[in-house]
């Protein structure tokens, strides 16, 4: 009896990834995330130029050879700066993602599954915390300890963890009232078994999507906070810092501002689309073929009158 269960589990796992890859958004998201992660890894060992090396002779070089994306006002190679900056981006996204997951799951479970007084208090607490936007949390912490990447990671982690909890909690409550959870309870599953078998798989899409979007927010927040001077220290390579630095020359050298902005946009877009695609791949009610009023493209036009 247990063998077919394991088998079907594995198949659904595989099918989930396959569906993700079969969606153009999922492919794009996966590729972008992989490229950024690889770039961060490679830049630890190799960049075309030393990112911090100042060379006044080649300042404001236009894109070309050997500076593929040109240089900035002190002759630093922009491509190398971007590659090195991706490390900061990955660090912040992963760090904030981990913290947000822990906080989000804990708060959502506390807010949905516990005794009434406790879950209502948690929900109220979450609703209050959500009034603090990530940037505000970061600035609150920065005004005390000064800005740093750790502040960015913690504030995005806290801010988005609360966000995840807020979105996941009603889902948990909704699923909790579903017939299949009731059936599970009726057939003798303990609350924890029910949680693992019916509740979490049903809220996982919502959660994963939120997490992917949360990491996108982390990338944006790092850029924004570094731009404001509360993020990466000036000695660290960061896309947001680069934007701030190039801003004053924007009317003279508009092209140079293009690159860090594009790097941020593509990373965020990749994470957003990955989230969307995971949502589409895991949530059957969203998949394209299930739109009851929308005939899937390439569907059989002449449906046989009797379907066997």
């Amino acid at each position: 009896m247990s063998t077919p269960v394991v088998h079907s589990d594995r198949r659904s796992h595989w099918g989930w990834l396959q569906r993700l890859w079969s969606l153009s958004t999922g492919r794009f998201g996966l590729i972008v995330v992989l490229v950024v992660a690889l770039t961060a890894l490679i830049s630890r060992f190799w960049t075309p130029f030393e990112p911090r090396q100042v060379d006044l002779a080649t300042r404001w070089a236009l894109p070309g050879w050997p500076h593929l994306l040109g240089t900035d006002g002190t002759g630093r190679d922009i491509l190398s700066l971007l590659m090195a900056g991706s490390r900061t981006t990955v660090l912040v996204a992963v760090g904030a993602g981990v913290i947000a997951t822990i906080i989000g799951v804990a708060l959502a479970a506390l807010g949905a599954l516990t005794a009434r007084w406790l879950r209502e208090s948690v929900a109220v607490f979450v609703d209050i915390l959500i009034a603090f936007p990530v940037l505000i949390i970061a600035m609150m912490i920065s005004s005390v300890w000064g800005g740093s990447l750790a502040v960015v990671i913690w504030s995005v982690g806290i801010g988005f963890g609360v966000n995840i909890a807020r979105v996941t909690r009603p889902e948990l409550r909704r699923v909790l009232h579903s017939d299949f959870v009731l059936a599970g309870r009726a057939s003798g599953l303990s609350p924890l078994q029910n949680l693992a078998r019916h509740l979490l798989p049903n809220v996982a899409p919502v959660f994963i999507v939120q997490l992917s979007w949360g990491m996108a927010v982390a990338v944006l927040a790092e850029a924004g906070l570094s731009y404001l001077g509360f993020g990466a220290p000036v000695t660290e390579p960061s896309w947001g810092l680069l934007l701030a630095e190039l801003q004053q020359y924007i009317t003279v050298y508009p092209l140079s501002v293009l690159w860090p902005g594009l790097a941020i946009t593509f990373t965020v877009l990749g994470l957003n689309l990955l989230g969307d695609a995971m949502r589409e791949a895991t949530d059957p009610t969203l998949s394209r073929g299930r739109d009851p009023l929308h005939r899937p493209r390439g569907a059989i036009r002449h449906v046989p009158e009797v379907v066997a």
């Binding site: 109220v124 607490f125 609703d127 209050i128 959500i130 009034a131 603090f132 936007p133 990530v134 940037l135 505000i136 600035m139 609150m140 912490i141 920065s142 005004s143 005390v144 300890w145 996108a216 944006l220 850029a223 924004g224 731009y227 404001l228 001077g229 509360f230 947001g240 934007l243 801003q247 924007i250 009317t251 508009p254 501002v257 860090p260 902005g261 941020i264 946009t265 593509f266 965020v268 877009l269 957003n272 689309l273 969307d276 009610t285 969203l286 394209r288 299930r290 739109d291 009851p292 009023l293 929308h294 493209r297």
Partner: protein
């Protein structure tokens, strides 16, 4: 409804209380010796003591908190450490920039996200719908600073339109100039926030398409689009109302960054300056006002949602 309103009001007050305590504790307790922090590392003990005296830091914490809150109820948010100026009057002055900026941003965001979001969902799988949704996805991923920079490049450099930076000295006494100087910052925030809202509208519309009531309406003879517009869109509208609170928070965040970029003398820029200068009493007042504002918006949004959604009314 009265009962709900009262409960929700109690929650709002609780929220204000909790957030004020959180802000107070973060800024007063966590730094350790705030007086030492303010005085700097080269200060004498006498200087530190004088600062402590001036801020009332030698009193117990609950007294300090109550002092602060009592001041807030009198409309006194404290005064700057560095200049001694009143935080309340400065906030009121800066709000003349930030509030119109926020309203303009939200209007722009709603104006383009609602129609485009619905269209992109209804035309899903067709050229136009795909293009709209790809465009929204790309725009929602753009950092708001960079969007502003690109607008500077496009408008000021290439087209030679509009002043690149700043707010007219005369303020709203020169409405045309003031409006013009806010237009591009508002466009920046509005486009980026609107793109995020549009993604939300699109997915809410797509969800509505899959609902039984739309299928039933279609089965009763409505076309797919008519069924969606008659029965799906009210539901989409409801979900949009629920995220408006978050949108307002997003616009505040956008304003913090964009006011910096466009050198607008608003609340966001004031906050950035004060955080950089570690003017903690000012930061404390500004944070309370901002979070209080977001909480009040959330309260209003919930009430409105309750009033316009019949299911919510029955679910008491």
């Amino acid at each position: 409804m009265t009962r709900y309103t009262l409960t929700r009001l109690a929650l709002l007050l609780l929220g204000l209380l909790v957030s004020s305590v959180l802000i107070f504790l973060t800024l007063r307790v966590l730094p350790g010796d705030i007086a030492q922090l303010i005085a700097g590392t080269n200060s004498t003990p006498e200087q530190v003591e004088a600062i402590r005296e001036r801020l009332g830091l030698n009193q117990p914490l609950p007294v300090q908190y109550l002092d602060w809150i009592a001041g807030v109820f009198r409309g006194d948010l404290g005064s700057s450490l560095l200049t001694g100026s009143s935080v309340t009057s400065e906030l009121a002055e800066k709000a003349q920039v930030t509030v119109p900026l926020g309203i303009m941003s939200l209007t722009i965001a709603l104006l383009f996200s609602l129609p485009f979001g619905v269209i992109s969902a209804m035309r899903r799988g067709h050229g136009g719908g795909t293009a709209l949704s790809v465009g929204a996805q790309a725009l929602a991923a753009v950092p708001v600073v960079w969007a502003g920079m690109m607008l500077v490049v496009v408008f000021a450099v290439w087209l030679g339109w509009l002043p690149a930076q700043g707010f007219p000295r005369a303020g709203w006494n020169d409405p045309a100039a003031a409006f013009r100087s806010l237009l591009r910052p508002a466009l920046t925030i509005g486009i980026v926030e609107g793109a995020m809202l549009m993604r939300f509208v699109r997915s809410a519309t797509m969800q509505a398409v899959g609902q039984d009531y739309v299928r039933t309406a279609a089965a009763k003879g409505l076309t797919r689009n008519a069924a969606l517009i008659r029965h799906g869109l009210p539901n989409v509208g409801l979900s949009v109302v629920t995220v408006l609170g978050l949108q307002v928070a997003g616009i505040i965040v956008g304003a913090v960054v964009i006011e910096q970029l466009f050198s607008l003398p608003g609340i966001g820029r004031m906050l950035v300056d004060d955080v950089s200068a570690r003017d903690l009493p000012k930061v404390q007042g500004e944070l309370l006002v901002l979070t209080g504002f977001v909480l009040v918006i959330g309260f209003v949004v919930d009430l409105v949602h309750r009033i316009i959604d019949p299911r919510q009314r029955e679910a008491t």
